[in-house]
Symmetry: D2
Subunit: 261 residues, 4 copies
């Protein structure tokens, strides 16, 4: 089966190119299942119910997230209600929402999706390695294939978790840095891996943010309100060819869509 | 002119694949100038004079570095003597060594190379933005082309510096994360940019380190001595097509060499 | 002469105990000059012009600050206008406001006050050690006494700067951790030193913040809006006995005021 | 009963003043139980079996530790054997050694000691709040009194844990910053608290390290081998007056010993 994972959608620029391109991608690659990281989809910070509905109408089956999922207070109660929205599983017990979910493709293939967050240079969360073990145990026998979205900063932590889970999940895709990496590969035991899927949003920017403001912050070290950039929208995604019989990967391919000005 | 930049060479595995592949690459792409990041070339930690000589014999014109350049105490006195070895320019005044250098290709094109280090999630160095300004002023009129190796962790800091220098240098290449990014591009004002060149060393690893040890460190949070990995050596590099008349870029291309087992 | 330094005033609880206690302290200890760290004085975040005026009316001669001085956007233009309000000197050139100032006591003793911010676990600022050198040079011959407020997190960075400036300034007082340290001392070359002056605000709190909210943030790792605590206000300050002829210290004493419920 | 807690003993200077002063302190204050943080006791880095024996002979009943306990590889196997040596309990399951222990005074009072480590600005450990809950449950009914050594950097994390455990343990003492705080107090529900006990070692130093080297590291941002300082040894400790019937505190007092040159 073919699974498309779309990297962090940032603001309106990101949502709009997703809306314009997703159908075409699904058709062209005969995609069975679409997962999108939406942690920056609502104005760069978190999600709203409207954005979730917009994504559903586009045919997105699962929305994963990361550290920015908590940015919109009014959305948090929705986290328990929306089974198709995930937040990293390794927040402390009691956090609203779900860290993994079990879904099905139109053809009846059972897909498990697990969302985790890194700790290096990030928050003081529960261990993503042990949390992965625990979640996989709960998903055992209930999914033909498992995809992990590991939302993390450090390349070392991402590669370490990928090796740790190699052979136990079909694919591990990194998110959070907003830059796609060119290291897509099948690991020795059969798990597809890429350090980061990249971002879906304005490319003429600093990771999706208006570039002048971002530069100014670095130069002055003073706070400045971030603004989502708009120009030159691009879509970064990763296409996985997964083998539902073995629960492993056959192929992994980077997808990059840009539109002409 | 064609400039090849080779990403962080890690240990013997990295040096060996560089030795086996560099000539071929230079011939095939008619490369005029070779720059290699060598901060991890000696056993994963820093440089030795032997390694520097090895690189020179391979035809490497300039060795850039980063935070690991200080790892081998006995090498530090060499930093002042070797004009072809650079350490990040934004260490405090008085640090041994040079932060930028002026070189020449066989055809007489004057190439300036500037090495900088990021601060986000790294050390408390001088501002790389203002340091870049100061170094560029010193290089003004003395180079036809300038390449910047920005050794940094955060994608945002790298992209911000690239936009800050866009149009003022021919190319800015990121290093340090050891994972090549798939965002090579020419920025609006003519500077070639890629967030990270990736690593030259064992791919079946965690950023060049033996994967079992790296995983164990994350899982136990206990110290463990790192060991350079050996299997499946790869070479990650970036090929720049630079216009010496304008001091800007015409093209940028990722290079990835692997060898069959 | 006697100089009183009052530790970070946090919100209304802090301002109110300062208003109730300052006159009494000044009388009792025959204080000649009062410096207050006000970075948290306006609702826990930054300053307003009203708060500045309130402090002036209480007899505060200089207000120092730290990382929170930028919290209230509308106050930033005031930084250039208020000579009695300082922000850390080691922000990049061009930041609004002043990093040091030259003042005078009623008896004509010339007092220099220098504000610096640490980098360890904080922002990527200019080197506070070199910035101190530069500022002291500018103040040379223009002050009988110099006080440094070093707003920093790590005890090591604070003690290192104190030793670096020992004999060159009359006193170095740390701020930012909101907990007074019991290590007040005269360093070998004559500079009075204390790692942190502590906080002026609610003691039944987590560094001035409502304790339930603070605990919840640590336990859940989810964002929660901070609220300034109110109960059990205390005033933490340090009283310096300084020798204006030598520009060094004769004595240093911790002051702690609490009021009965 | 009277419990003496001695702050981080740093190197020989620290061990020697402890050896010279402990008997006198125990006699003078009629101390029933002595706990020492020993994470820096062996040359500044960790422990050795010899140092442990030295401490036992001085009458130390329990040695707590922190992030430096792992520094001496050869000592790690001892962690499982020495019931009187603790390492922070919130390292991942499987770490060598014990995170808490149950002891007895000469008079038969059952004392529980729990060691925890903070996460803010430190390692990615398990949640110290939930770990405290779990350990206290295991100690329930088996100790008349519980002391917690919370080895942490941030004052906010220390105060938050203290409030979280207020009324459930007799005392929570902070360590790690090497500077004693002047905020010793009995919290509303009866737990004695001090943010940091301070250090036992050379005072003419930067947190126990030779001051010239420490200053140089900050100024140059280059690595330099730390050296334990020797001059002006001091002992920082905290004396707790605990009520074994209620498991709470009656009093808390800072102890500071210096010796004449
Ligand atoms: Fe994101
Ligand atoms: Fe993120
Ligand atoms: Fe490297
Ligand atoms: Fe590096
Ligand atoms: Fe403050
Ligand atoms: Fe602060
Ligand atoms: Fe320590
Ligand atoms: Fe420590």
């Amino acid at each position: 089966m073919k699974l498309l994972f779309v990297g962090d959608v940032v603001g309106r620029a990101g949502r709009q190119i997703l809306a314009r391109q997703l159908d075409r991608l699904v058709d062209r690659h005969a995609i069975d299942f679409v997962v999108v990281n939406g942690e920056n989809a609502a104005g760069g910070f978190g999600l709203t119910l409207e954005v979730v509905r917009e994504f559903r109408q586009l045919g997105v089956q699962v929305i994963t997230s990361g550290n920015h999922i908590w940015d919109k207070k009014e959305f948090l109660p929705q986290l328990d209600r929306c089974n198709d929205v995930l937040r990293p599983a390794n927040y402390p017990p009691g956090a609203p929402g779900h860290g993994f979910g079990l879904y099905e493709t139109a053809a009846g293939i059972r897909v498990g999706v697990l969302n985790l967050e890194g700790r290096v240079f990030m928050s003081n969360l529960d261990c993503p390695f042990r949390c992965a073990d625990a979640c996989l145990e709960q998903m055992a026998g209930r999914a033909d294939l498992i995809l992990v979205d590991f939302h993390a900063e450090a390349t070392s932590e991402k590669m370490a978790l990928a090796h740790y889970l190699d052979g136990r999940v079909a694919a591990l895709i990194g998110t959070h840095t907003h830059v796609p990496t060119a290291d897509e590969q099948i690991l020795p035991a059969g798990t597809a891996y890429q350090t980061d899927a990249g971002m879906t949003g304005s490319r003429d920017s600093v990771i999706g943010i208006a570039k002048d403001i971002a530069v100014e912050r670095f130069v002055t070290q003073l706070p400045a309100r971030f603004e989502v950039a708009k120009r030159q929208p691009v879509l970064c995604a990763t296409l996985f060819d997964l083998d539902e019989d073995r629960g492993l990967a056959r192929g992994i391919e980077r997808i990059f869509c840009r539109e002409e000005a």
